[in-house]
Structures are given as structure tokens and as C-alpha cells.
Symmetry: C2
Amino acid sequence: MSVNPKRITGPAIHAVDPWMRGDPQKRARHQLLSDDERAQLAKISSIVRFEKGEQIYLEGDRADAAFNIISGVVTAYRAVEAGARVVTSFLYPGDLFGLSEEGIYSGSTKATTFVVAYKMPLEAVRRVLRKNADLDVGVIIKLCEELREAQHHAVLLAQKKAVSRLARFLELQEHLQFLSDGRTIFLPMKRSEIGDYLGLTPAAVSRAFRTLVLKKIISDQDLHHVKIVNRNALYRIADSTSR
Amino acid sequence: MSVNPKRITGPAIHAVDPWMRGDPQKRARHQLLSDDERAQLAKISSIVRFEKGEQIYLEGDRADAAFNIISGVVTAYRAVEAGARVVTSFLYPGDLFGLSEEGIYSGSTKATTFVVAYKMPLEAVRRVLRKNADLDVGVIIKLCEELREAQHHAVLLAQKKAVSRLARFLELQEHLQFLSDGRTIFLPMKRSEIGDYLGLTPAAVSRAFRTLVLKKIISDQDLHHVKIVNRNALYRIADSTSR
DNA sequence: CGGCCGGTTGAGTACAATCAATTCTGGTGG
DNA sequence: CCACCAGAATTGATTGTACTCAACCGGCCG
């Protein structure tokens, strides 16, 4: 018998509860699963690691497992024609992916940094889901969040001007990260990937960054660290000048 | 005691089961809820009607109910700046909307045609969800589908050329409708709404239609009925010529 | 019959794509 | 530790496409 049942680990799903009552602004991303639920999922999960740049699965592969990120960043994308691709989302720790597939994966994923994740056989996930209503609610909340994100992404892409798209993207990243220090955002992905996400060429991304720096709205320490200098101006650019 | 329990009505959620095993091509949209579940939801639902063009709810309104379409078409959109908006999706019978909101609606919806729908108080939906695991699975499947659609939309918007976007949109509409007759698609929304969905101005939409007609890929009987003449060419255009 | 809204068409403009040249970065091996 | 290399990012010049603004057309409703 286990003497010390503390440090229960297992899949962790982070999201903001869409049905949360109470202070509309005090909502925050939190763990959606109880220790018990996590233990249940842990039993059917294995831990997998992916090197930076490694393919996790390809569009068209037989979908037999879902993943829950422990650490690292994953890029989800779809090939649109030879050579070109559209990044549909960047996934962070606590995110869940590979679940909403119809037997075969409908998109590809690759590790943008070194990634550690739980791998859960879909068959087993489904079995557990049927048994446990509370777990379902957590999954539903997560899906709702991903749905909102996907729609946000669509709104972003509907913006015509490159700087607006980039501003919106930075805004999104700022919210995703826990604003650890002042206002420095960490962007683990490369420019070309940002371009794929924004529907822009690397050249356009570069110029958009330059514009924002020149306007003293952001300052880029290095390729992967951006500091927001004038947040209000950033928001203004993200929302206006759309078409 | 009810002598004739047939003709049970109540909310109906249509989607393709993402976890369906079996013939990969034989999957189809079907009813996700059992009669029992539908009856359960019916108890907490009321039926509401909206005139063509009527607002269902506005971004920022207090989110107190979810809707399930019985008949008609609903447009979901977000205002992006004064006058401009982005349509995030067109919703058809069997679709569910208003569920994934955080206390206040994060987008607006309006009736594109005359609409009849079930209206379900969120509080009650949540209560039922907590009790019934099977129901959850249905909702999860539906959310997965909406998620896939939202990502498809994002991919569409990442296309640069107007004709590619339109082709992709027509392709999508064709799949949504049950291909009743030969290959005539019904487009209940107006050009400007299609434009908002595609991230194009009405002028650009018009020109894109014209191009497809001139290339003998489609033929437009009237503003709301388009016949696909050369499906392969349509798919080719949707997939290539992207950026 | 007239007004109005939505759609189409036309001319000029603005913005990002393209192509290509150059610099910068990060990782590797001497 | 540095030199080197390959890939990535930036920058520049040019081109193409869709936006803008505007005029025009057509159907629908009063």
C-alpha cells in the first residue's frame, strides 16, 4: 500500500471555465481535472518525448492516440499545397491535441521545442469518457476553449494588414503566457512559422516587426524575446486598420 | 401513461463521430443523441423563432442560453471595428451554438433566414451534463466538429487569392448540404456575408464568382443557387494557387 | 412609379508577394 | 575558442492582386 499518495501526477488540462460564475475578470486558466481523474488517465497514458523539430504525427496518419503536453511547444498545421502550409495553432503545456480526429489525423503536428507529453490511446480515452461524467465536463471546457481560439485565429486571418495580424498575434501570446516578468513575450517558434500562422511570408513578418519597433510599440531583444512598450497602441493596431 | 411514445422530439445534434471505427469513407453526419437524451433536454428547452435578419444575441450580452437549430440558417460573426465584421461560421439545422461562452457571449449571431431553434438555459444544460455521461460524449463530438470547421475556416482565410477562397467555400457548402439534387448548391446568405466569411469585399466576391463562371467551373442560376459544372477543377483551384 | 438596398463593374491605389541579394544566427568540428 | 557552414532572417526592387471609391444596374416593396 502506498504510504505517501502525494505528488499524484498525470495528464493536466488547463483552460478557463467558460461557465464560471462570478467576477467576470477574475477568471484564470486552471487545472480542470481532479487528482482522481488525473490518476485514472495516468493509468492509460505513457510519457513520450520529442526532439525539437521532430514530427509527432502527419495529416492522414491513422489516429490512435491523443496527447497532453507536459512541457514544450507544439505546432499544429495543415499542408495546403506542395511546400505551403497553414499553422492552425501553437500548443502549450496543459493543451490537449489529437482528440478530435475522425480515425485519421486531419492535420499534422511537430515539436517546436523539446517536448514532453502524455500519450493516451484514443480507444482507452473513449472508454474512460463513457464512465466518468465529471471528466467529460473538463474535456468539454477544453474543447470550448480551443474552439474560441480557432475562431480568434480566423478573425486574425481576416485582417488584411500585416501589422494588424502581428499585433493580434502578440496580444494572443501575451495572454497565453502567464506574464511572468514585466511584459516580455517569449516566442519559441521561428519567423517562418509565425508567418504560416499569420498567413504571411517571412519577409512580410519581418517588415511588420520592424514597423512595430519603429513605432516604439514593441522592442525586440532577440529573435525570440519581444517586449511590449506601448500596450494600448498595440491593442489599437490589432483592432483597427483591418480592411 | 403515454400510449404512443413515438415522434419524440427535442434537441437534435448532428455531426460525424470523430471516433467512428470502420469504413473510413462511409462516415456520415448522424443524430448524436438518444431519444432519452433528447427528451431530457426537451424538458429544459423552449422553442424560439427568429425572423430573417433578426439578431439572436450580441457580442458582450450576458450568456444565459445555448441554441440548437431546428430549421434555418444562422450567421455567427464578430465585430472587428466600426462597420467591419468577420463571419466565423454559418450554422445549419442540427448545429449547436452559444455553449462555449464565458459568461458573456464572445461573438454575435443573427438569423440569415427564418429560424426555428431550441433555446436551452445554460444553467440547466450544465446540470444535465453533470448527470449524464453519454450525453457528454455527444456534445464532445459536436464540439470536435465545430473545432475542425473553425480550423478549416482559418485555412481558408490563409489562402491569398480570392477565387481559391471562394472555391474552398463552395466546396464546404457542398459537403454541408446533403447534395440533394445533382450538384446545385443553395446559398441563403447574401454576397456581403459571404465576403465577411471569406475576408473579402463584396466587390472581390463578385469578381471571384465571375471568374469561376467564365472558366466554366460553376454556373449561377440566380444569386442563391450555384451549380457545380466541373467539380475537379473546383477542387484543384481550392487547393492550389494559394499564395 | 420611385426609392432603396444589394450587386456588379470600372479606374486608380496600396499593400504584400515574389525574387534575389545580403547579413545574421546557431550549431559543428577542428 | 574560434572558424566555418547551412539555414534563417532581413532588406531591396518589382509585380500582382485585391481594396477603395465611385458610378451604374436591377429587383423588391411601398
